[in-house]
């Protein structure tokens, strides 16, 4: 009996050791060997929860989310108190954009382990993704427990502040996160921080996070794209150009990289090359309206007004409420001295975006040409007022959603 017990204990210890070896292999990205060893373990014990969890992890890493989900579910069924598998399942649900399912799993995790700060942060993320910022905030604050040392919780709170338009708070949170994550080993987290910083207009913070993320995962296209956008938003066209060119070396067909490089070159008034990249982007299966707008600006600058108008019209067809394309149309019609059409387009633009100074400037120009100095001055006063409020330069604008594109 004692012998049998010793054998069982030895066997269990041997299993644990083998599973630990597998876990190490996964961490070291040696998934082929990890999977081979797991196959042996699961062959003898098909419902071994830890083995299922580890195989699920490999599948998740491979992007095979449905298979990963099935494996984590089997692990949880076989061991309902296995909080690690539930956490992984929650991550898969979040990746699959099924936050409600993630909430269920994370709530279970917190029932098993009420002090699990990571679970609280991820539950906060799930609530946030599910459109429930109040519950999310509660989870983040619980995770912090009065201390400002949980970067994930702080990032969540920063996101909530951004949703509320409290940019000062966003800045405070991001600054603190910057300190905590200076040596972070999670590129995904750094990228998440950068994304938020970009959205909050904190381009230096975004840049710093992305540069750290790229140290951990060099040449990751998403990070490079975001870094290029951060430089662009900082106003450094030369650095942005370098990054987008590098990205295009890695991904020559990246529509995002093409349009961004085209945009940067357009702003540097390097029209011939800008047109080349924008035309490449326009040849994609479903080109964005902005591509036609930018190509129209290039044509306008190169004195091809007919082509410019055709391109702006195409942008407007794709996105009828595109104020900048309307302004550009107005500007082209002014150039062609078709003042009634110019007025029509510019007035539409003002209706779409009354705070865009470029529309008012073009109206001022139009009224000045129509020998109506009083109205021209009125429009210039609006321009001055909007500029004093910090309105956009309006020279060339980023796409109308005015946020970096899918970084």
């Amino acid at each position: 009996m004692v012998c049998a017990l010793v054998f069982v204990q030895f066997a269990v210890a041997q299993d644990v050791a083998r599973l630990e070896r597998v876990a190490t292999l996964i961490r070291e990205n040696k998934t082929v060997e990890a999977e081979r060893q797991l196959a042996t373990i699961l062959h003898s014990k098909p419902n071994e929860p830890v083995g299922l969890n580890l195989l699920g992890t490999i599948r998740a890493k491979q992007g095979r989310l449905d298979e990963a989900e099935a494996l984590f579910v089997r692990a949880v069924v076989n061991d309902p108190r296995y909080s690690g598998a539930r956490m992984n399942l929650a991550y898969v649900y979040l990746q699959k954009r099924e936050p409600a399912k993630a909430v269920v799993q994370l709530t279970e995790v917190l029932t098993i382990d009420p002090a699990n700060a990571e679970a609280k942060v991820v539950l906060g993320d799930a609530y946030l993704a599910n459109g429930n910022p109040d519950d999310a905030e509660k989870q983040y604050l619980d995770a912090l427990d009065g201390r400002l040392d949980n970067a994930g919780a702080l990032l969540g709170l920063a996101q909530i502040s951004r949703l509320k338009g409290e940019l000062k708070e966003v800045a405070l949170y991001l600054n603190r996160i910057g300190t905590l994550t200076a040596n972070s080993d999670s590129p995904e987290f750094l990228y998440k921080v950068a994304t938020l910083a970009l959205q909050a207009g904190m381009f230096d913070a975004a840049k710093a996070s992305l540069e750290n993320a790229l140290k951990l995962r060099p040449d990751e296209p998403a990070y490079l794209l975001a870094l290029g956008i951060a430089w662009l938003r900082k106003g450094d066209l030369f650095e942005a150009e370098k990054i987008f060119r590098h990205l295009l070396q890695l991904q020559p067909t990246s529509e995002q990289a093409q349009i961004h490089l085209g945009y940067v070159l357009l702003n540097q008034k390097k029209y011939d090359e800008a047109r080349l990249w924008l035309e490449k982007s326009a040849r994609s299966a479903s080109p964005m309206p902005e591509v036609f707008y930018y190509l129209g600006l290039v044509a306008q600058e190169q004195n091809d007004d007919a082509k410019a108008i055709a391109l702006f019209e195409k942008a407007v067809q794709k996105l009828p409420n595109y104020p900048h394309a309307r302004i550009a149309l107005g500007s082209s019609y002014i150039k062609l001295r078709n003042y009634p059409r110019a007025k029509e387009e510019l007035e539409t633009a003002v209706k779409l975006d009354p705070e865009e100074p470029t529309a008012h400037y073009n109206l001022a120009l139009l009224y000045a040409r129509l020998k109506d100095p009083a109205r021209a001055q009125e429009e210039m006063k609006i321009v001055e007022k909007l500029k004093a409020k910090g309105g956009s330069d309006g020279v060339v604008v980023l796409p109308p959603n005015s946020s970096p594109r899918n970084p």
């Binding site: 540097q268 600058e301 004195n303 470029t358 400037y361 210039m380 330069d393 309006g394 020279v395």
Partner: protein, 544 residues
């Protein structure tokens, strides 16, 4: 031969083989150095000067040079006093300092100089602008000058920058436009600094109040009448730097294009009867895209594409791009900088001039650059305090940057400000004089521009204004007909060779030259010898 080979190896020549070569002070004997009065207080006048001129003060047929210096002001008391400088051309590539003998040292905080024979006595006079009252020096015709400012009534106190001689009422006398910059005295110097620098930098002119520029009508008796108000010029207070007199609508009346810093530029349309109307907004030359005023500094005008209409150029500050306004007729302009834009993205431009450096007949473009803030490198990435010169070759409808192949001087950087154009060595190609802020000036000799043929005209007016500003010269050679309007002013704080050099390209004879003087007189010249300067007297024609 060996040195030529080395030169060719280092600098691949541009297509036409023309380079600009510095004539060093050891050779030219021009030892004068601009003192910018640079101080920890960063008083704004310190950084915007100064100008220079090519001027034949002694009528010997050789261009002399004049430089403007800083001097005594409410914030600067130099000991010993600083001087402007007049150097006489010795006809052998060297110059002699004749400042004291000529009596043109000034000693005020100088900005620019505009040279012209305002009294029509045949000798060129000098109008020197200052931070503080300006000075009009009448040339006595014996190598000396007399300060006639008070009698003439053109002191224009305040802070003047560019001055432009032209004849706005076509009465045959040279009138004077004086650009006024901001309202300023030493008590008006706010603390401009940032947390990074923790010291002052030069304030952006946006912080200061604009002032109206001045227009003086020449009464023909040594006096002028300030017509700023009745002409409409004073209705538009500005922060004016460069100005050029040109005729944008071909009506025979000279208009004024004035660059403003951090304010919309002005295009003063001459309506006749002594009235001007400011039409910058409607003309499309006032603002940058989106209605944002830029930092206009140097300006010039020329018909660069040969369509018969005067186009305009303005240099702005870094990141604003320089503007090349194409004249689309009917008083409408479109900014079409072409290759000039990317080349000037990070630069701040001052002196500039359209001129035909290679004598192929079309106007090219020379730009002098430098950032006004000596601490800019600590504040803005990639922007330098000292910046390179640029040369653009006219390609017919636009310009090509040929700086890299036009001489070693284009590989260097300067705190450039003023720039004058003139043929100081009388070899038939136009040379360049650059005045640098707080540095010695640069005399650049055009080497190779005279490989193409040319004719030089020395216009002597009898009924028109003495500088023949507004004259239209048409010439035909090698089957190509070209036209040039003689503009007034242009560049920044500087004054140019009064002669006109007509480029003929490879044509070995000139078929015809016609001069339509501002008075309406037309002179047609035939059988003009090429590669020489000829005197043309209004109503008489070529004076053999």
């Amino acid at each position: 031969m060996k040195s030529l080979l080395i030169l060719l190896a280092i600098f691949a020549l541009n297509g036409n083989g023309v380079i600009f070569e510095e004539v060093p002070p050891q050779t030219s004997k021009i030892t004068w150095v601009h003192n910018n009065a640079h101080s920890a207080d960063r008083q704004l006048p310190e950084t915007v000067g100064a100008g220079c001129a090519f001027v034949d003060y002694d009528n010997d047929g050789w261009l002399d040079v004049y430089f403007v210096n800083s001097g005594r002001s409410d914030f600067f008391t130099p000991t010993p006093p600083l001087k402007n400088a007049l150097y006489r051309n010795n006809h052998d590539g060297t110059f002699t300092d004749v400042t004291d003998k000529a009596g043109v040292a000034v000693g005020k905080f100088g900005m620019g100089v505009a040279a012209a024979d305002f009294d029509g006595d045949g000798f060129v006079d000098l109008y020197v602008t200052n931070y503080g009252p300006n000075i009009l020096y009448r040339n006595n015709g014996n190598g000396t000058f007399t300060d006639v400012t008070d009698k003439a009534g053109v002191a224009a106190p305040g802070w003047s920058t560019c001055a432009t001689w032209f004849d706005f009422d076509n009465d045959g006398k040279l009138d004077l436009f004086v650009s006024s910059f901001v309202f300023y005295d030493k008590s008006q110097n706010p603390l401009c600094t940032d947390a990074t620098l923790q010291r002052r930098y030069y304030c952006v002119p946006r912080l200061f109040k604009p002032t109206p520029s001045r227009l003086f009508r020449n009464n023909g008796n040594g006096t002028f009448t300030d017509v700023s108000k009745q002409s409409g010029i004073a209705d538009s207070p500005g922060k004016s730097f460069g100005a050029v007199a040109t005729d944008v609508n071909n009506d025979g009346l000279m208009d004024l294009f004035v660059a403003n810093d951090t304010m919309p530029n002005f295009l003063f349309l001459n309506k006749g009867a002594g009235k001007f109307e400011e039409i910058g907004l409607a003309a499309g030359v006032a603002y940058g895209e989106a209605g944002r005023p830029r930092s206009g500094m140097g300006v010039d005008a020329a018909d660069y594409d040969g369509d018969g209409w005067q186009d305009l150029f303005v240099a702005n500050i870094d990141h604003e791009f320089f503007s090349l306004y194409h004249n689309d007729k009917e008083l409408i302009f479109t900014d079409q900088p072409g290759e000039v834009a990317p080349s000037t993205h990070l630069l701040s431009g001052w002196g500039l001039k359209f001129f035909d450096y290679d004598n192929d007949g079309d106007p090219d473009l020379f730009l002098v650059n430098g950032h006004p803030d000596d601490m800019i490198e600590s504040r803005i990435a990639r922007v330098r305090y000292k910046e390179p010169l640029l040369l653009f070759e006219n390609t017919g409808k636009s310009f090509k940057d040929v700086s890299a192949t036009s001489g070693a001087v284009f590989g260097r950087e300067f705190s450039g400000r003023g720039m004058a154009v003139g043929d100081f060595d009388n070899d038939g190609d136009l040379d360049v004089l650059v005045s640098n802020n707080g540095e010695r000036p640069l005399l650049l000799r055009n080497q190779g521009g005279n490989k193409n043929n040319w004719v030089g005209l020395n216009l002597v007016a009898t009924k028109s204004n003495p500088a023949a500003v507004g004259a239209v010269i048409t010439w035909q050679a090698g089957g190509v007909k070209r036209t040039r309007l003689r503009t007034g002013g242009g560049s920044y704080l500087s004054s140019h060779d009064p002669r006109e050099v007509l480029g003929l390209g490879t044509a070995t004879k000139i078929d015809s030259i016609e001069i339509r003087w501002p008075s309406g007189t037309i002179d047609r010249l035939n059988n003009v010898a090429i590669n020489k300067y000829v005197k043309v007297v209004e109503g008489v024609g070529q004076n053999r």
